[in-house]
């Protein structure tokens, strides 16, 4: 198997991460295969990896981040490779998940938080995500999606109305590097960003600095130029230094991890990257 290959084959969830980090307190749905397909089609059943209550990570305040399974990209620095395959997730009904979300309403209220649907790739399960986002909005909860934008076309206008904030990962600034990093094309992400900016959606940009892969001045400059197009909508840019915290997952999965030797970027490089974004008049962290 090669890392660059796209599709739903060959990835198994590592055993030690399926314990504890999973659904805890969300009941797994017991459904037949036919029911499962039907319910996933109509958005009442999702394939969920795990959830977490986090502060100041995936949007403002304390948020319930829901990790869905399945991703069309194969980023070689992915730190959640166990979320790549949709079939590795646990079946969870939208009612069950919304019940859990409802439990944390007071937490979201006190902290100015909300929910963030992440993954995997949230837009691999657009109907399920839409059901959850709509349900959350009906409870008055702030909603965020964390996406690469690659499947932006799967986000309907109705769904977009239920989203308050988009965390948009721009993984590189030219087609060649983007393909090297993710195995896919860059253009869909640009298109999605254009659409969000036109709709006046709030966007936080995320860019991961990987030494030798994404940190070249030109690459960063290209990303910054793309982001600058959406300036009115982008309220912050988060420059994230690459880390090795996902390495054990790759190993447990028995996959070849290409960044085994890669060190986190130096402070100077990270600061240089931030400066490149700042130079475009963006709010950068």
């Amino acid at each position: 198997m090669t890392i660059g290959s796209v599709g739903d084959s060959g990835f198994e969830a590592p055993e030690h991460r399926t314990k504890g980090a999973g659904l805890s307190g969300i009941e797994e749905a017991e459904v037949s295969r036919e029911e499962r397909l039907e319910q996933m089609q109509n958005g009442t059943l999702g394939s969920v990896h795990s959830w977490e209550l986090v502060t100041s990570v995936d949007g403002p305040g304390t948020r319930m981040t829901i990790f869905l399974n399945g991703c069309p990209l194969r980023c070689i620095y992915c730190h959640n490779p166990d979320t790549l395959k949709m079939k590795d997730g646990e079946p969870v009904t939208s009612d069950e998940l919304l019940k859990k979300i409802k439990r944390y309403r007071s937490v979201f209220k006190s902290t100015g938080g909300g929910i963030t649907i992440s993954g995997g790739e949230v837009l691999m399960q657009p109907r399920f995500a839409a059901t959850i986002l709509h349900g959350a909005k009906e409870m008055g909860i702030h909603t965020t999606i964390d996406t690469s934008g690659y499947l932006g076309a799967a986000c309907t206008d109705e769904m977009l109305e239920d989203i308050d904030l988009v965390l948009l990962d721009v993984k590189s600034g030219d087609e060649e590097t983007y393909k090297k990093v993710t195995g896919r094309a860059l253009q869909p992400t640009i298109d999605f960003g254009d659409r969000l900016a036109a709709a006046g959606k709030e966007i936080w940009i995320r860019f991961v600095v990987v030494p030798g892969l994404t940190d070249a001045v030109d690459n960063v400059e290209n990303v910054a130029n793309i982001v600058a197009r959406w300036k009115g909508a982008v309220s912050r840019v988060e420059v994230l230094p690459f880390h090795q915290m996902g390495r054990d997952k790759w190993n447990t999965l028995g996959l070849k991890y290409e960044l085994d030797e890669t060190e986190p970027p130096s402070k100077d490089v990270v600061e240089r990257v931030r400066e490149q974004f700042r130079a475009k008049g963006l709010e950068v962290y």
Binding site: T18, A21, S56, Y104, S106, S110
Partner: protein, 698 residues
């Protein structure tokens, strides 16, 4: 006599000038005084002042001449000739600048004193470990002529207690060191002056004089006599430093100084495991506001006085053994200062002095003592909440408690003794009970009372788990309940003995002199290893746990297959097991008669003995390995709370507070950068997390 009484009335009326009158004038009632006179502060912290030159000079001198030396050699110095007492040492100072709030435990900063009433062996060991030799005469007194608390305890201990102690299922008991967990109402010294307090104690003592003899009656009179003697010594202590404590304090500076002398007397005469100072800010603030109104105090001076007090609270030292330091992970004395909260009438108890206390962490830098403990409520003033969060982020030196839970059970003038135990100041004390190893008890249940580490049969008459089949939850739970009867019974028996002996041989006279004549006593029982029990029972219930035996048939390990819910992830399946364990232990404690009619309570608390408890304990079905440290207090097992800090807070919040009135603790380490990108964001997020953790209504 008439003249003295007139004088007393005169000094009172001048010291109490401008205060609103009330029942507090005739009866000792500090809470009533505070409620009628304090000024809640709703504003922000922009009024605060930095450290004065003098504060910095004293702090530097302390660091240069004493603290830096102590860090190198563990103990700065020990006095081996003078058994400690309130008036045993002459006045001492940090430096010539040390004149804002004065008083040291001995004549030299950080020099430790012997307190042999608790037990001679500990004192001798500690002296030797500090590189000195005990004085032969003092040793003779405390080994030949004067019986100690420790001697008495071991005269009374039963065989089952000795067995449980030696196998470490019950460990860390206060049978050879001071129990602590008593907060004198040190504010009384300032508000009333010692002449009034002594006169009241004499009245109390004789109020029962015409009743017939009973042991209770005799003890009441004897203890009051001890209290009166202690207050007279406290008066002498004031004189050493040039103060007349017989009269009430007449301004802010005196109020702080008088109160500190009360506390100083207690740490000069007792080396309790926790020597907390109470709830002082709103009390002090009455005086500072009056001084401001009279034009006799500036903000800079007020801050300098609080800084000076806090410096003193940072250099309390007791003579401890290295073993003791290991149980408590260092050398803590828990000078806990409780602050904030909401009063019963709905006004916040936050005052400007509450802000000043937090400011000391900026002016002097972070420190673990005094252990500043904020009674948190989402309705605290925003300016104060923001300051708490900001100072927490800067210094990691603040602890938080749910104000609502404490207020509902203990009223709005309660304070924390040690780290979580609430009590009404001056009206209540605790018999400190350390902790029983609830996790090891589970292994005893499975092995029918054989110790899983040594293989010795510690408890007899209990059926072990039979066969090599996977463990059955109902079977294990039934055995656990039965074993808990034995463990809890043995544990409470030990506590009853300890506190009987402590009252008799190491009585806290000055602390109790600053209490009402009749008080509430609680028996503060505690458990260790809750998360291990919860996860292990969850594993037995939801996964497949097969016991592994050694050649003697002793179950020493487990093979656990499959997933199971883990405590600390806001998952009811595991959290309810934890709650049931807490409730079950409490019911068993309640069924036992307590010494001095103490009210039994329970804590699931953070102290620090996790390493010691873990060392003496075997492997568990949840995968916790033999000898590994326990998670502190009610914390989830290390690394097993995988759904974020707020989720673990909500799990802990499910533990029944009614079964754990002595407190539940959750220790979290938060890195500032983990709370937000900017300082403002970090402050807002921490305030939000605290609000949601303490105010959760699911």
């Amino acid at each position: 006599m008439t003249t003295t009484e007139n004088d007393a009335t005169m000094t009172q009326s001048s010291a109490w000038r401008g205060f609103e009158e009330g029942p507090w004038k005739d009866l000792i009632d500090v809470r009533d005084f505070i409620q009628r006179n304090y000024t809640p502060y709703e504003g922000d912290s922009s009024f605060l002042a930095g450290p004065t030159e003098k504060t910095l000079r004293v702090w530097d001198a302390l660091e240069k001449n004493y603290l830096s030396v102590e860090r190198k050699q563990r103990v700065f110095d020990v006095d081996t000739k003078t058994p400690a007492d309130i008036d045993a040492f002459p006045a001492g100072y940090i430096s010539e600048d040390d004149d804002v709030c004065v008083g040291l435990q001995t004549d030299v900063p950080l020099k430790r004193a012997m307190m042999p009433n608790g037990g001679w062996r500990m004192v001798e060991t500690a002296i030797k470990e500090a590189g000195k030799e005990p004085d032969a005469d003092v040793k003779k007194i405390f080994t030949q002529y004067r019986k100690t608390h420790n001697d008495a305890v071991f005269d009374i201990y039963t065989p089952r207690i000795r067995a449980a102690r030696s196998s470490h299922i019950i460990t860390g008991l206060p049978d050879a060191y001071g129990r602590g967990r008593i907060i004198g109402d040190y504010r009384r010294v300032a508000l009333y002056g010692l002449d009034f307090l002594i006169a009241e104690k004499m009245k109390d003592k004789d109020s029962v004089a015409d009743q017939p003899f009973s042991e209770h009656w005799a003890r009441f009179r004897e203890e009051h006599a001890e209290q009166i003697k202690a207050l007279k010594k406290l008066k002498r202590l004031g004189e050493f430093y040039g103060f007349d404590l017989s009269r009430p304090a007449s301004n802010f500076k005196e109020a702080v100084q008088w109160t500190y002398f009360g506390y100083l007397a207690s740490v000069k005469s007792q080396d309790g495991a926790a020597m907390s100072i109470g709830r002082l800010s709103s009390f002090f603030d009455v005086y500072s506001e009056r001084d401001f109104a009279e034009g006799t105090l500036t903000e800079t001076e007020a801050q300098e006085i609080i800084d000076a007090l806090v410096i003193k609270l940072r250099i309390v030292r007791f003579l401890r053994t290295i073993d003791y330091d290991q149980i408590f992970s260092g050398d803590p004395y828990w000078a806990t200062w409780s602050d904030a909260g909401i009063g019963e009438d709905g006004r916040t108890l936050v005052t400007k002095t509450s802000h000043r206390l937090l400011q000391t962490l900026r002016n002097l830098g972070p420190a673990p003592e005094p252990n500043i403990t904020i009674f948190w409520d989402e309705n605290l003033p925003q300016g104060y909440k923001d300051l708490c969060a900001a100072v927490s982020i800067e210094t990691s030196s603040i602890q938080y408690e749910s104000d609502e839970q404490i207020r509902d059970h203990w009223g709005d003038d309660a304070a924390i003794a040690c780290c979580v135990s609430p009590m009404q100041v001056g009206k209540q004390m605790q018999f400190f009970g350390a902790r029983v190893n609830a996790a090891k008890s589970l292994l005893y249940a499975i092995n029918g009372g054989r110790d899983e580490v040594t293989g010795k049969q510690i408890v007899t008459g209990y059926e072990p788990v039979q066969g090599d089949e996977p463990l059955d939850f109902d079977d294990v739970w039934e055995k656990y309940e039965l074993m808990l009867d034995w463990v809890v019974g043995t544990y409470v028996e030990a506590l009853n003995i300890i506190h009987y002996a402590h009252d008799k041989y190491a009585y806290e006279a000055v602390e109790m002199a600053l209490h009402d004549p009749e008080i509430v006593r609680t028996m503060g029982c505690g458990i260790a290893g809750l998360s291990i029990v919860a996860d292990s029972l969850s594993a037995i219930k939801y996964a497949k746990v097969t016991p592994i035996r050694d050649e003697t048939g002793l179950i020493v390990d487990y093979k656990t297959e499959g997933d199971f819910p883990l405590y600390g992830n806001d998952d009811d399946r595991a959290d309810e097991i934890a709650a049931t364990v807490v409730h079950t232990v409490m019911e068993k404690i309640k069924a036992i008669k307590m010494y001095r009619d103490a009210v039994p309570t329970q804590s699931v608390l953070t102290i620090t003995s996790n390493v010691v408890y873990g060392k003496a304990t075997g492997a568990f079905p949840c995968g916790h390995e033999a000898g590994q440290p326990f998670a502190p207090g009610a914390n989830p097992e290390n690394g097993r709370d995988t759904h974020g800090m707020v989720a673990s807070m909500l799990s802990v919040a499910k533990l029944p507070y009614d079964s754990a009135l002595d407190g539940i603790s959750l220790t979290n380490t938060i890195t500032p950068s983990g709370m937000g990108r900017t300082k403002e964001e970090q402050v807002a997020n921490l305030v939000g997390v605290l609000d949601s953790g303490f105010g959760f209504r699911g």
